[in-house]
Symmetry: C2
Subunit: 260 residues, 2 copies
């Protein structure tokens, strides 16, 4: 059975993604915002946990010419597209700095080491956990107390891996739904500090649809809530200038923001 | 020794506060924003925990003509001003709906009941915990692991009392520093749900200086991050229109906000 695929252009033509049309997670603005957590001019090794076809990771490569990225994905279906994306001639130059690891982010200990995710081996970890996949859907099971604990375990397991593979003082960036904030902050506690929360709003007058949380391993710095990212004006679907520049890889999320 | 005091007008002349000039916490925009957590047209009993001279409680009375407020304060020094505020002829009308309880918010069990803070006896609790007082200052002791636990206990003890005294499905509103968000969400977990977080920014481009967190006792509704409250434009010290209306008791924090 063949799967229909599309080739989508990002960063105003600086890279493309080969993605399935119907099944699997299709990348868009979420991945571009996540990639924008990595500071401008960043040099070092980035792990993109749950990379899908590679959108966030390639967006980092495109904006940060001295970064290399390891794309970590467990789904064989999505990995087939990650491979096509990296092999696409359009991406030949930036993908010299990319590699793929087929592994489950929730692996621990020796199993994780065997998967070539060595302890303290990355300078920055980005992650877009599968909050749109069944595990986080509000099914009746998730409402039950016992199942709730399982649902709650998602960020705990992903952040445990992030803590293990990033070096001390290394960075973390994740994108999630605002409804997960308690679980995320609880899982970060004692592992990462210097937490920076950026609420992402579709429009100024609507509730936030995503949060970006950035942090530093073993830091004891204070948690901050930084200026919001607002995607659209009160009318129409065009991005506001800052959102447009972030979507196109011209700015990091921190450009122009006072970090105290 | 006499203490210099001032009489400060709030809500465009609808009430006044008698406050010490030099010692103790002086009320301002924080208390007005906190009061704005109580929905417009609210009817019922409100407890203002750590009320100081009464600023937030009186702001609720001024905007919600069918609310009554119990001001809970432990400091004899501040209580002397709470009493003067309630006795001031200027406040005669709204203060018919106010009473004072001299009690420590951290009391538990029988001691709390004896202080006339009965279980499930309020419809809404507001609190401005003493985050500017020594317990929350980042002293070297607070940095130590053991002392850190003590410092962390502030919201835990205050929210334990809030949970006890508010009725099931009753409301909560608090104002705090963004740096306390992990501690607050952890203390709310299992006690309050339907959490609504509103980041308060001094200006659009600066980090948040306060968070408002509202919640409902025993609710299982999802946590939301609502549109930010931005106090000032990029230049000057005048309040933006929405902040001005909240400061003057013309709007609640929820007016005009889509709550899904």
């Amino acid at each position: 059975m063949s799967v229909k695929e599309t080739i989508d252009i990002f960063h105003r033509g600086r890279f493309c993604l080969v993605q399935p049309v119907q099944r699997g997670h299709r990348a868009g603005i979420d991945a571009m915002i996540l990639a924008s957590c990595v500071p401008h001019g960043f040099m070092g090794k980035v792990a993109d946990l749950g990379s899908g076809a590679g959108a966030a990771g390639l967006a980092v490569l495109s904006r940060c010419p001295e970064a290399c990225v390891t794309l970590v994905e467990s789904s064989p279906f999505m990995l087939s597209f990650t491979k096509k994306t990296l092999a696409h001639p359009y991406n030949a130059e930036i993908c010299q700095r990319a590699c793929i690891v087929a592994a489950d982010v929730t692996l621990i200990g020796q199993a994780r080491h065997k998967a070539v995710l060595a302890d303290s081996s990355f300078d920055f970890v980005i992650m877009n956990p599968p909050f749109n996949r069944p595990i986080d859907t509000r099914t009746p099971d998730c409402e039950k107390a016992k199942a709730h604990v399982m649902c709650k375990g998602l960020f705990e397991t992903w952040l445990r891996t992030a803590e293990a593979i990033v070096q001390p003082r290394g960075g973390l960036g994740l994108i999630a739904r605002p409804s997960s904030i308690t679980e995320i902050l609880s899982a970060l506690d004692g592992r990462f500090g210097g937490i920076k929360i950026v609420p992402v709003y579709p429009r100024y007058s609507l509730a936030s649809i995503r949060i970006i949380i950035a942090a530093t391993r073993s830091s004891r710095a204070t948690t901050q809530i930084l200026p919001p990212l607002i995607l659209h004006g009160e009318e129409g679907n065009a991005f506001l200038p800052r959102a447009e520049e972030i979507n196109n890889g011209q700015l990091s999320l921190w450009n122009g923001v006072s970090l105290n």
